[in-house]
Amino acid sequence: MAAVQDHGHGHGHDDHHPTGIMRWVTTTNHKDIGSMYLWFSLTMFFIGGTLAMGIRAELYQPGIQILEPELFNQFTTLHGLIMVFGAIMPAFVGLANWQVPMMIGAPDMAFARMNNWSFWLLPVAGSLLIVSFFVPGGAAAGGWTFYPPLSVQGGLGVDLMIFAIHILGASSIMGSINIITTILNMRAPGLTLMKMPMFVWTWLITAYLLVLVMPVLAGVVTMLLTDRHFGTSFFNAAGGGDPVLFQHIFWFFGHPEVYIMILPAFGIVSEIIPTFARKPLFGYSSMVYATASIAILSCFVWAHHMFTAGMPVTGQLFFMYATMLIAVPTAVKVFNWTATMWRGSMTFETPMLFSIGFIFLFVIGGFSGVICAIVPIDIQVQDTYYVIAHFHYVLVSGALFALFAAAYYWLPKWTGNMYSETLGKWHFWLSMFFFNATFFVQHFLGLAGMPRRIPDYALQFADFNKISSIGAFGFGLTQVLFLYIVISCIRSGEKAPEKPWDGATTLEWTHLPTPAPYHSFETPPVIK
């Protein structure tokens, strides 16, 4: 019994699908769509990265050299938005597209045509954001969190950003409904929930978070829009509203959002560590429960971003303790990864290096998070470079490193070719070095009181800023190496063996040839 019927009436497949550009425009194949997501994300990563280089160039020394303050603010705003919504999130969705059907033995995503739409909304939103630099008044400049009143006062750029966010939200919602449905409905017979690979589990939970909070973001940007143009008073105290209300609604979305960007990363690392330690994942079920508790808790901690915005003390206490509680399931995960490696027969190929780098640096970010969660300390560090350091440790050396690990891990499966292990190792070590050079010193800057989102600074911050900028340029250049590695892997990589990672146990490695065929699991495998 064949389990997939393609092109209407089941006369085979890969026969009459369009070629050339139309293949990519019209495709309903999860692998094509996954690739488009990944390339889109890489493109946005370089655009967002260019903005970051601009920011660090301006901050290389005190005074205003390159970017006027207005433009500087546009750079920081769009850097954040592009990296979060354009680079990190689509990359994970791309991975889900490629991997989820293969890891659960499904022929494709549940809604293959809608899947195409989820992707093709992204370039539309991306163009809204990028074009906004060139309209009168320039791009949005109120920070990626676009707090009113600044965002109520901005010009056309803010409106373009609002509609970009609406479209991105629609894309994410369709994407996550697709992922949830695929996972719940299309697993191979015998693949019970508690046998699913961790990557699939983390994506299932992430997709739940997405359907819960993306609509809230859509709601809050809509209120912003009507406050801007239709005279409503949601964020206007004169009308009985409150700018702080915006912050509450935004962070009700925003904090789960940061977990949306890290849970799939947890999943990736939970696949890679067992493979290269050649041991099953330690504490599988505790991993599942930890992921679920992180997701649930993450909906009740949002106001830790607002400790200095004005809040009753009871509120501060509640959000402080709730936030600190998240560190517990997070620590369970770190413990389990470490225990998986304990006495394993480990090898250190590039995916493993990035995963270990992830654990090491993510833990630093987790600790600085707990420090930020302590109200009296946060009152000092709020809106300083300390917070910047914190979230780059969790997002760059967390989410991004895990994405690199995933790319190296699955490139052989996707392309049939191996990447260059030597260059991959260089990529890791250079990234590791320059990342820390860029961001570790920002902890000191923040503790010493350097505010974020300001193009100029007092003289005593000059040395650390210079180090940070040099690190940033190095980090940026290193990522060009990644692009080179990927392209040369696709173009001229050595042919990959059927199973390059002998410790891998998930379906895409055990049940499918390398490279994975265009249509996989037309007949579902039976899982014992």
């Binding site: 209407g8 699908h17 293949r23 293959a112 409106d159 409905n185 209300l245 609604i249």
Partner: protein, 285 residues
């Protein structure tokens, strides 16, 4: 095997998504430009809407055709159920944002603005003058609140009744009585349309007689945004019900396979429930 396809249907490559994306391209730029009073915007908006409507006809038409051709087996049906369920959850969360804003203003921001600490800012805004409904301390334009027991109560009755008629239609469909199904569907759509007409009348009344506007501070903002988005959803729901009615006339759906019908019914009930929330929290309280 039975008539039903044993395969999970994966649609062929399709142009509809990119058509939809180009619609949103025009809508996104068009809306942003329009709101900044730039000429180009209006045209782009119009083009965007035209493409969007074209896409909906084409895409949903294709889905209906595939469904009638028997391409969707039980597993695909389950997918649609999950998909629609989660979609409705996202809609619920969207409304939650606005209900949350209403809650926050009434419970926190307005009492705070009226308390002793803020005496210097707006001395005239105190516990007495800040009673709900209010336009806030800085908006002087007086308005009259929208009462609950006139039109809104009638509207509640209309929507609740439409839920009942829809259920009768569903039972008739399951019993295989197509004519009866269609009759009750028409009744449901009619109730929805009457509801919308009442709502439009109410808005006119608010603007003309009560001086209640979007710009009427906290009360006006939450009143119009909540009822407005709800009305928009009723509108979408009524259009979907109409489409389903036409499909019933065209002989679509069978007594035991009609998720297209059920999905829209779920949506309609969801819109109903949101209204109950509105009636209590916006009109009554």
């Amino acid at each position: 095997m039975s008539q039903e396809s044993s395969h999970y249907y994966v649609p062929a490559p399709s142009l509809w998504p990119i058509v939809g994306s180009s619609a949103l391209f025009f809508l996104g730029f068009g809306a942003a430009l329009t709101m900044n009073k730039m000429e180009l915007g209006y045209g782009m908006l119009a083009v965007g809407f035209a493409i969007l409507i074209y896409m909906m006809f084409g895409w949903f038409g294709e889905v209906a055709k595939e469904s009638e051709a028997g391409e969707y087996n039980g597993s695909v049906d389950t997918s649609f159920r999950w998909g629609m369920g989660w979609f409705i959850l996202t809609e619920v969360m969207f409304f939650c944002a606005f209900f949350g804003a209403l809650f926050y203003m009434r419970v926190f921001s307005i009492p705070w603005l009226a308390d002793a600490e803020h005496d210097l800012l707006w001395p005239a805004f105190n516990a007495a003058t800040s009673a709900w409904p209010t336009a806030g301390p800085g908006i002087a334009d007086d308005f009259v609140e929208m009462g609950a027991w006139g039109l809104p109560a009638i509207n509640t009755a209309l929507l609740l009744t439409s839920g009942v008629t829809l259920t009768i239609a569903h039972h008739a469909l399951r019993a295989g009585d197509r004519a009866k199904t269609i009759t009750w569907m028409i009744a449901t759509v009619a109730l929805g349309v009457i509801f919308l007409a009442c709502q439009i009348y109410e808005y006119g009344h608010a603007y003309e007689d009560l001086n209640l506007k979007m710009t009427s501070g906290a009360y006006g903002s939450t009143f119009f945004m909540l009822t407005g988005f709800h009305g928009f959803h009723v509108c979408v729901g009524a259009i979907m019900l109409t489409v389903i009615t036409f499909r019933l006339k065209a002989g679509h759906f069978t007594a035991d396979k009609h998720f297209g019908f059920e999905g829209v019914a779920w949506y309609w009930h969801f819109v109903d429930v949101v209204w109950l929330g509105l009636f209590v929290f916006v009109y009554l309280m």
